[in-house]
C-alpha cells in the first residue's frame, strides 16, 4: 500500500462523516466589508515584515551553523560587542514599527467610528444564545443553535454547517451602516463575525459599540469568542445580509408574524389546554430551552445546576415555580424566560417539570396563570 493510499484510508476512517464539509481556508478571511479588507491588508503587511526579518535572522544563524563549526577547524573570533551594530539593530526595527503603526492607527480609528448609522441592532448574549433587537423596528428575537444533540453526539451525520447554524439568524441590509450595541445578561460573551472583522465583548451591565457596512448579500457565520461557561462552543452567530428592498420586506413580514403571535396568545388566555397536550409540548420545549443546564432527566449537574426532579420548587408552591421560570433569579445562571418564550411554552414547560421524572403534582398549568407573573416585564 502506498503512503498516499494509507493516508487516504486513515482520513476516510477518521473523517468519514465530513466528506461534505467545505475546505478550510489557510489564511485570514478578506471578508465582505471595506474594514475587513483593510484588516486583511494589515495582517498581510505585518506577516511579510515578520517573514523578511525571520529570513535575515535565521539565514545568518544557519549560515553560522553551517560554516562556523568547530568540526570545520575554525578558530572562534574574539569580538563581543559593537556599539554601532547594536544601535543599528535597535533603530531599524523601531523605524519599521513606526511605519507599521500609521496604517494600523488609521484603520483602528475608522473601526471605532460608530456615528451616523442607518440602522441600530442591540445584540445581547446570555448563556448560551444571542438576542437581537432592532431599534428602528418593532422586532426582537432570540437566536439559538440549530444543530441537534444527535449530531453532536455522533448519532447522526453532521450537517454541512455543523455548529454554525441557528434557528433565527440576524438579518441586516447591505450597503447601509449598521451599528451594533452589544451587551450581556449574565457572563461575558463576545460577538464575532470574521467576515465583518467585528469581535466585541458583550459585558454584563455595559454596552459596547461596533459597526459594519456589508457589500455583498450572503450568509455570514461566526461564534461566541469569549469563554462563557459550559456551552460556550455552542452559541454561533449567523448573519444574513440582504439587499435593502428585500430587507425591508423581511422586516415587515417579521413584524406581522410577531403581531399575529401576540394575538394568538391573547386567545390562548381564554382557553384551557389538556394535561396531555401540555405535557407533550412541555417536554419538547423543556429539552430545547432548559435541558442544557437542568439536563433532560431533570437531575441537573450537582454543585452547578440544581435538579428539578424532586426539587422543593418544582413540587412545591406553584407560584414560586412560575415566578422563577418567568423572572429568573438575578445573580445566578437562572435567567428569566418570560421575555424569551411564549405563554404556551411557559405553561407547558412548568406543567412538564411538575409532572415528569417522578414529580407528580398533577398540576396542569394554564397560560392565564402564567401571565399573572409577567407583570414585572
Amino acid at each position: 500500500m502506498t503512503a498516499k493510499q494509507s493516508s487516504w484510508l486513515l482520513s476516510a476512517a477518521v473523517f468519514a462523516n465530513n466528506a461534505v464539509a467545505e475546505e478550510m481556508p489557510l489564511n485570514l478571511t478578506k471578508g465582505v466589508t471595506e474594514i475587513s479588507r483593510n484588516v486583511y491588508d494589515l495582517h498581510m503587511i505585518i506577516f511579510y515584515i515578520c517573514c523578511v526579518i525571520g529570513a535575515v535572522v535565521f539565514g545568518i544563524m544557519f549560515w553560522s551553523m553551517l560554516y562556523h563549526r568547530k568540526s570545520k577547524g575554525v578558530a572562534p573570533a574574539n569580538f563581543h560587542e559593537s556599539t554601532k551594530v547594536e544601535i543599528l539593530w535597535t533603530a531599524i526595527p523601531f523605524v519599521i514599527l513606526i511605519a507599521m503603526a500609521f496604517p494600523a492607527t488609521k484603520t483602528l480609528i475608522a473601526m471605532e467610528d460608530t456615528s451616523k448609522a442607518d440602522l441600530t441592532v442591540q445584540v445581547t448574549g446570555s448563556q448560551w444564545k444571542w438576542h437581537y433587537k432592532y431599534f428602528d423596528h418593532e422586532l426582537e428575537y432570540y437566536s439559538l443553535l440549530a444543530t441537534t444533540k444527535d449530531e453532536i453526539y455522533d448519532k447522526r451525520e453532521k450537517s454541512v454547517n455543523y455548529l454554525l447554524e441557528v434557528d433565527r439568524p440576524l438579518v441586516i441590509p447591505t450597503g447601509q451602516k449598521v451599528r451594533f450595541l452589544i451587551t450581556s445578561d449574565d457572563v461575558i460573551h463576545s460577538w464575532w463575525v470574521p467576515e465583518f472583522a467585528i469581535k466585541k465583548d458583550a459585558n454584563p451591565g455595559f454596552i459596547n459599540e461596533a459597526w459594519t457596512r456589508v457589500d455583498v448579500p450572503g450568509i455570514y457565520r461566526g461564534q461566541c469568542a469569549e469563554l462563557c461557561g459550559k456551552d460556550h462552543g455552542f452559541m454561533p452567530v449567523v448573519v444574513i445580509a440582504k439587499e435593502p428592498a428585500e430587507f425591508d420586506k423581511w422586516v415587515s413580514e417579521q413584524v406581522e408574524i410577531a403581531k399575529k403571535a401576540k394575538e394568538e396568545e391573547q386567545k390562548l388566555l381564554a382557553m384551557n389546554m389538556s394535561f396531555d397536550e401540555l405535557m407533550a409540548h412541555g417536554e419538547k420545549a423543556y429539552n430545547a430551552n432548559c435541558a442544557a443546564c437542568h439536563q433532560p432527566n431533570g437531575q441537573g449537574i450537582p454543585g452547578v445546576f440544581p435538579a428539578l426532579k424532586g426539587s422543593a420548587i418544582a413540587i412545591g408552591d406553584l407560584g414560586a415555580h412560575i415566578d422563577i421560570v418567568v423572572n429568573g433569579k438575578p445573580g445566578t445562571a437562572m435567567q428569566g424566560y418570560g421575555k424569551q418564550l411564549g405563554l404556551k411554552d411557559l405553561a407547558a414547560i412548568i406543567t412538564y417539570e411538575r409532572n415528569a421524572w417522578g414529580n407528580s403534582t398533577g398540576d396542569a398549568v394554564q397560560a392565564a396563570e402564567v401571565i399573572k407573573y409577567m407583570s414585572g416585564q
Binding site: M24, P25, S64, K70, P76, M111, K199, F234, G331, T332
Partner: protein, 533 residues
C-alpha cells in the same frame, strides 16, 4: 579564575562527613535548608506537574481529535483547559525556574547557599499543598475550576461552581511561595556575591533572575488581590466585578492582566538567561553585547507593566487606550529583538558544536522568535480583533511557553545535569528526545496558526467540521510530544544512577564559577568565597 579557595572547596568535599553533609532519610528532604536539595525538589516537583498538566492536555487533544463530543462533557473539558493552564504556569514552568535558580544562582555568584535558607524550605514545601488543593477540587461535587486559567468575572464569581474557594486558596498559596522565592533570590544576589563579583560581571542567568524576582514581588500581590476580590464577590456579597452593585467586570481583566502580562515575562526572562549561558559555551565565544543584554532585559521588564491591556482589545476600551497599548506592545518587541540578534551574533564566527543543550537552545531561538512574530502580529489592534481568542493565540503562547520557556528549561537541565550528578547523560537518548520533541511540537502547534486564522475559537470542546483534518493532525502531534517527554525522565533517571564521569568543567567552552567546583557539585560549595578577577 581558578583559585586556591576553589581547591579548598574540593577538599571540603572529601571531608563532608564531619562538615555537616547531607543527612540521611526522609527527614533530609522535609527539613533541608540546602539550596541544592531544595533546587532538586523544585525540579522534580515541576516535572511531576509537567506530566499531570500534560495528561490534561492529552484529554483536551483526545476530545478535539474529531468533531462531536466523544470522550468528555463540555463542563469537564473546561475544567481540563483551566487546570492544565494553571498547572503548567504555576506548577511546571515557574517552579522549574525557581529550582534552577536555587541550584545555580549561589554557585554562579560564589555564595555558600541562598541567603534565607529556612524560608527557602518553606517556599517549596507549601507548593505541593497548593496543588493538592487545586487537584482535589476536580473531584468535588460540581467539579473544579472551569472558568479558564484567566478566571474572568463574573464567570468565576456569580456563575462559578462551589469549589471556587479552593481555587482561590490554592492560588494564594502559590503566590506566597513565589513571593518568598523571589525575596530569597534578591537578597541572595544583592548580599552574597563573592568579592569582586560586581553586578556587571554576573552571569546573565543571575541577572535575568534578579529582574524576574522584582517582577514577581511587584505582581504576585496583584494576583492575590484579584483572587481575593473574586472570593468576596462570590461569597461575601461584594460587587467589585458586578455592574448591578456598581462594579465592573472589565476591571477584573485590568487587574488580572496587570499581573498576567508581567507574569509571561516572569516565565521567559530566566529562559533568556539560560540560553545566554549556553550559546556562548558551545560557540566558544563570549556572549555578544553583554551589557545590552542586561539593559534589554531591564527594559522588557519595565515595558511589561504598560502593555497589559493588549490582552483586552475587544473589551471595548476607548480608542486612546487601544492606541496606547498597541504602540507600547510594538515597542516591547525592540528589546526582545535585540536579544535574538545578540545570540545570533554570539554564534557568528564562533567555533560551534551541537551538544544537546545547544540543540535545545538553537531550537529555542528559532521557535521562540516565531512566537515573537505572532506576538508582533497580535499587537496590531485592528488585526487582533480577528486573532483574539482563536487558536492563533493558542499557537502564539504555546510557541513562547513550550518551545520558549520549556525548551530553555530542558536546555538548562541538560546543560547542568552532569554538574549535578557527576555523570554524562545518555547522549543518544537525549538526542532522540530532542528530535522527537522538536518535530512533534511543531506538528502540534504550527497548524494551530492556520486553524486560528480560519476562525476556530479557543476553549471549545467541539468545532465545525471544516477544522477536522487539522485538529486530527494537531492531536497526533500532541500525543507524540507527550510521549516523547517520557524519554526525558529516562535520561534524567539514568544520569542520576550512573554514567560516564565528567570533568569539573564538563563542557569544553564552559566558563564561570559553577564549572570550577567539583562534579558532582559537593553538598556545600563556596563555604569560603572564591576570588574573582
Amino acid at each position: 579564575m581558578s583559585t586556591t579557595e576553589n581547591n579548598a572547596v574540593d577538599s571540603n568535599h572529601h571531608a563532608d562527613d564531619h562538615h555537616h553533609g547531607a543527612p540521611k532519610g526522609i527527614k533530609r528532604w522535609f527539613l533541608t535548608t540546602n539550596h541544592k536539595d531544595i533546587g532538586s525538589m523544585y525540579l522534580i516537583f515541576s516535572l511531576v506537574m509537567f506530566f499531570i498538566g500534560g495528561a490534561m492536555a492529552m484529554v483536551i487533544r483526545a476530545e478535539l481529535f474529531q468533531p462531536g463530543l466523544q470522550i468528555v462533557e463540555p463542563d469537564f473539558f473546561n475544567q481540563m483547559t483551566t487546570v492544565h493552564g494553571l498547572i503548567m504556569v504555576f506548577g511546571a514552568v515557574m517552579p522549574a525556574f525557581v529550582g534552577l535558580a536555587n541550584w545555580m544562582v549561589p554557585m554562579m555568584i560564589g555564595a555558600p547557599d541562598m541567603a534565607l535558607p529556612r524560608m527557602n524550605n518553606w517556599s517549596f514545601w507549601i507548593l505541593p499543598f497548593a496543588f493538592l488543593i487545586l487537584l482535589s477540587s476536580l473531584f468535588m461535587e460540581g467539579g473544579g475550576p472551569n472558568f479558564g486559567w484567566t478566571f474572568y468575572a463574573p464567570l468565576s464569581t456569580t456563575f462559578s461552581n462551589d469549589s471556587t474557594a479552593f481555587f482561590v486558596f490554592s492560588v494564594h498559596i502559590m503566590g506566597i511561595s513565589s513571593i518568598m522565592g523571589a525575596i530569597n533570590v534578591i537578597v541572595t544576589i544583592v548580599n552574597l556575591r563573592a568579592p569582586g563579583m560586581t553586578y556587571m560581571k554576573m552571569p546573565l542567568f543571575v541577572w535575568t533572575w534578579l529582574i524576574t524576582a522584582f517582577l514577581l514581588i511587584a505582581v504576585m500581590p496583584v494576583l492575590a488581590g484579584a483572587v481575593t476580590m473574586v472570593l468576596t464577590d462570590k461569597y461575601f456579597a461584594t460587587s467589585f466585578f458586578d455592574a448591578a452593585g456598581g462594579g465592573d467586570p472589565v476591571m477584573f481583566q485590568h487587574i488580572f492582566w496587570f499581573f498576567g502580562h508581567p507574569e509571561v515575562y516572569i516565565m521567559i526572562l530566566p529562559a533568556f538567561g539560560i540560553v545566554s549561558q549556553i550559546v556562548p559555551t558551545f560557540s566558544r565565544k563570549k556572549l555578544f553585547g553583554y551589557s545590552s543584554m542586561v539593559y534589554a532585559t531591564a527594559s522588557i521588564a519595565l515595558l511589561s507593566f504598560v502593555v497589559w491591556a493588549h490582552h483586552m482589545f475587544t473589551t471595548g476600551m476607548p480608542l486612546a487606550g487601544e492606541l496606547f497599548f498597541m504602540y507600547c506592545t510594538m515597542l516591547i518587541s525592540v528589546p526582545t529583538g535585540v536579544k535574538v540578534f545578540n545570540w545570533v551574533a554570539t554564534m557568528w564566527r564562533g567555533a560551534l558544536t551541537f551538544e544537546v543543550p545547544m540543540m535545545f537552545s538553537i531550537a529555542f531561538i528559532v521557535l521562540f522568535t516565531i512566537g515573537g512574530f505572532s506576538g508582533l502580529m497580535l499587537a496590531i489592534t485592528p488585526v487582533d480583533f480577528q486573532y483574539h481568542d482563536t487558536y492563533f493565540v493558542v499557537a502564539h503562547f504555546h510557541y513562547v511557553l513550550v518551545t520558549g520557556a520549556i525548551f530553555s528549561i530542558m536546555a538548562g537541565a541538560y546543560y547542568w545535569l552532569p554538574k549535578w550528578t557527576g555523570h554524562m547523560f545518555d547522549i543518544g537518548l537525549a538526542k532522540a528526545h530532542f528530535w522527537l520533541s522538536l518535530i512533534s511540537v511543531n506538528v502540534l502547534f504550527f497548524p494551530m496558526h492556520f486553524v486560528g486564522l480560519a476562525g476556530m475559537p479557543r476553549r471549545i470542546p467541539d468545532y465545525a467540521t471544516q477544522f477536522a483534518d487539522f485538529n486530527a493532525i494537531i492531536s497526533i502531534g500532541g500525543f507524540a510530544f507527550g510521549l516523547s517527554q517520557i524519554l526525558f525522565v529516562v535520561v534524567v533517571y539514568k544520569c542520576i544512577k550512573g554514567g560516564d564521569k565528567v570533568s569539573d568543567q564538563v563542557w569544553e567552552g564552559a566558563e564561570g564559577l559553577e564549572w570550577e567546583v567539583a562534579s558532582p557539585a559537593p553538598y556545600h560549595t563556596f563555604s569560603t568565597p572564591p576570588e574573582i578577577k
